[in-house]
């Protein structure tokens, strides 16, 4: 048994064994490739070869807690009333192995929304059953900009256990009590030497330096709100956007969903599924979409993340994971937009 206060390490060759141990208690999710698309999937029990190629997933881990679609309940018409049947939810805990710091932070950001005035039972139940094993980024993408958002490729704030690549081994840092219990149970870790910790620090510093994309978030909220009504500006930056759902669906912090019923004869299900403020149909069901024009919808996306969320929760709802930049079919780049917001002097007089 390793004393809980000590830093420990694990040989990369033993990671598969460790996942095997954890598979007894947890459903273990790891990055996996499906026709070249990296997403979270149940560990196949074979090996940890994903460590050789994994940088980040296309579909963010929010999909584990807020799935692209989920059944909220089933219903059956019973003469004059409806009988509601809640779906059977698993009690089994889920262990997400290798979550990147940006995506772990995104979950913390989602928690604020889903446990605010209304507590979302679907999301929160899954969150309570989730354990996060973080893996620091050694090789961030050219689209990553986490260091501009109070985070870093090694940010361990939002995980239970944090791993840092130190060559043939990972340095293992225990962050939460849950993480401590997990690490204490395994005999696959060894006490880390002082040299291991030095190597980890060097690796962290090098990774930090590799995040080349930067934005100044200093007074971003104020800047955004002051140009909020500059129609010309927003029309110009929205011109090439095609209003698809990629940047919002695959954003680790976007959480909008739609609700739909499917009724066949006397029974059916109520589903919720991802929705996007980029879509003209957004909020059409309860009322109208007040954002008929593309530039209004795009402005909403940017302002929600960098203006309104900070007002509501005192945090920017963006973690700099860069998915919206890498995956955009027209290379609409939020960092360019935020970096070139018009100053008060540049604002055009025409208001929307």
């Amino acid at each position: 048994m390793i004393p809980a206060t000590e830093k420990v390490k694990i040989n990369k060759k033993d990671v598969a064994k460790l996942l095997g141990e954890w598979s007894g208690e947890f459903t273990v999710l790891v990055p996996s490739r499906d026709e070249g698309v990296v997403k979270w999937a149940r560990w196949d029990g074979e090996d940890a070869s994903f460590l050789d190629w994994y940088r980040n997933t296309i579909v963010p881990p929010k999909a584990i807690f807020l799935p692209p679609m989920e059944e909220m309940f089933g219903f059956q018409k019973d003469k004059a009333s409806y009988r509601i049947e809640l779906p059977v939810s698993s009690e089994r805990k889920q262990l997400i192995f290798g979550i990147r710091p940006c995506d772990a932070k995104a979950l913390a950001i989602l928690d604020m929304n889903f446990s605010d005035a209304y507590e979302d039972p679907y999301y929160l139940a899954k969150r309570k059953r989730g354990v996060l094993i973080g893996l620091g980024c050694a090789n961030p993408y050219d689209s990553c900009f986490c260091t501009s958002l109070d985070s870093s490729p090694n940010d361990a704030t939002n995980v239970d256990v944090m791993l840092t690549d130190i060559g043939d081994e990972f340095l293992v840092e225990v962050i939460t009590n849950q993480g401590r219990e997990l690490v204490a149970k395994t005999s696959l870790v060894q006490v880390a030497a002082e040299t291991d910790e030095v190597r980890a620090e060097e690796a962290k510093e090098a990774a930090y330096g590799r995040v080349a994309r930067k934005i100044d978030t200093g007074s971003i909220k104020e800047k955004l709100l002051s140009c909020f009504e500059d129609k010309d500006y927003w029309e110009e930056v929205a011109a090439k956007c095609i209003s698809c759902g990629i940047c919002t669906f695959l954003c680790p912090t976007c959480y909008c969903f739609d609700i739909s019923d499917e009724l066949v004869k006397n029974q059916g299900e109520r589903f919720r599924s991802w929705d996007s403020c980029a879509f003209p149909l957004y909020t059409k069901m309860p009322m109208e979409n007040p954002r008929q024009q593309k530039w209004r919808r795009l402005r909403q996306k940017v302002c929600h993340k960098y203006g309104f969320y900070p007002i509501n929760f005192e945090v920017i709802a963006c973690t700099g994971c860069g998915r919206c930049i890498r995956l955009c079919p027209v290379n609409w780049d939020i960092t360019q937009i935020l970096g070139n917001l018009p100053t008060k002097e540049q604002l055009t007089p025409e208001k929307c």
Binding site: D34, E35, G36, V37, K39, R55, I58, V59, P68, M69, N139, Y141, D142, S143, A239, K240, I242, S243, C244, G245, I246, F249, L250, D258, S260, E262, F271, S273, W274, D275, S276, F279, P280, L281, K284, M285, K294, I325, R326, L327, P329, V330, N331, W332, D333, T335, Q336
Partner: protein, 323 residues
């Protein structure tokens, strides 16, 4: 004429068009914010003209923007994109006199996915990717590797029948000769593999593919042929399809979309490139393209003065129902 020379000519012509007031906007490409990418540049400012580029990464079919830009527009197009414009003209979606077409005789676009697969590294980890005649040279960590173009161009480019724009006002270089049948087999390989599968296996294949679909509608929104004001999938009364991304609904959406763009799709490959979860959508659209060519002897976007494919019939048609 190489890309650099075309780029020079493009900037000269585009500047003149704006300065002489012949167009209010130019729609072209500029360097993207990520390595080996480009991004649409939509501008009325002559100061932006020096940002226009022509290179093997000018992937987007810019005709998708035509309906959204007011007034007269100068637009940069490749062969396939020009046919989308012709198709939009046939459908009366745009007026010819409102557009000045700057045609790029195209020699094919480099498929970054294929390059990544071949070198085992991702786009942003590579130093350079350059076209050199019939080869593409990839520089990684100072070392060059060469690949024949049939290994690294997009499938649709390899099978391109009309690389030179069909409709243009200004051609930016010498017309490109089509490769003919040279790369047809590679271009259609995925489709052949699918056709060779037993039906059950093919069904399982598409089930797995559409299981990944997240219904972001990038395939539809990037497509100039998908010009409906309101897509059938967004109708709620009646609700043809739920917005829920179940594989069955996803597949149905794509099948209907495919039929809706039949006779308009020019095999530009935009839908497949836009898909964030790698669904091989061109295997559907290109097959539809082939069926239309075979059964109706029709190729989309070739002649702006003919009726749109789905709006035309001939009294001599062998099918009774059209008479």
């Amino acid at each position: 004429m190489n890309h650099k020379e075309m780029e020079k000519k493009l900037r000269r012509e585009a500047r003149a068009l704006l300065e002489q007031g012949k167009v209010g906007y130019i729609i072209g490409f500029e360097a993207g914010s990520l390595k080996f990418t480009t991004t649409p540049l939509i501008t009325s400012d002559t100061g932006d003209i020096s940002r226009l580029v022509v290179n093997p990464f000018i992937a987007n079919n810019l005709s998708v923007y035509l309906a959204g830009v007011k007034g007269r527009v100068g637009i940069v197009v490749k062969g396939c994109d020009s046919r989308s414009i012709v198709s939009l003209l046939q459908d009366n979606k745009i007026a010819r006199e409102d557009i000045v077409i700057l045609g790029v005789p195209c020699s094919g676009l480099i498929d970054l996915g294929k390059v990544e697969e071949l070198v085992g590294k991702e786009r942003d980890e590579l130093d350079d990717i350059a076209r050199d005649g019939d080869r593409v040279v990839v520089t990684d960590n100072g070392n060059n590797s060469e690949f024949p173009i049939h290994e690294v161009l997009y499938d649709n480019c390899l099978g391109c029948e009309f690389p030179t724009p069909q409709e243009y006002d200004i051609l930016l270089g010498e017309p490109t000769l089509p490769a003919g049948d040279r790369y047809q087999a590679v271009s259609l390989m995925k489709i052949k593999q699918l056709k060779d599968m037993p039906a059950q296996q093919r069904w399982e294949f598409w089930r797995n593919e559409f299981d990944r679909c997240i219904r972001c509608y990038a395939c539809r929104n990037i497509c100039p042929a998908c010009f409906c004001q309101r897509c059938f999938v967004e109708e709620s009364e009646p609700q043809w399809l739920l917005p829920v991304p179940r594989w069955q609904d996803n597949l149905m959406f794509q099948v209907i979309r495919n039929i809706h763009v039949a006779g308009r799709c020019t095999d530009c490959g935009g839908c497949e490139r836009a898909c964030p979860v790698n669904i091989p959508l061109r295997s559907l659209t290109r097959e539809m393209y082939g069926i239309i060519a075979e059964l109706f002897h029709y190729k989309p976007g070739m002649d702006k003065d003919t009726a749109p494919f789905l709006a035309a019939y001939e009294a001599t048609d062998t099918e009774d129902f059209v008479r």
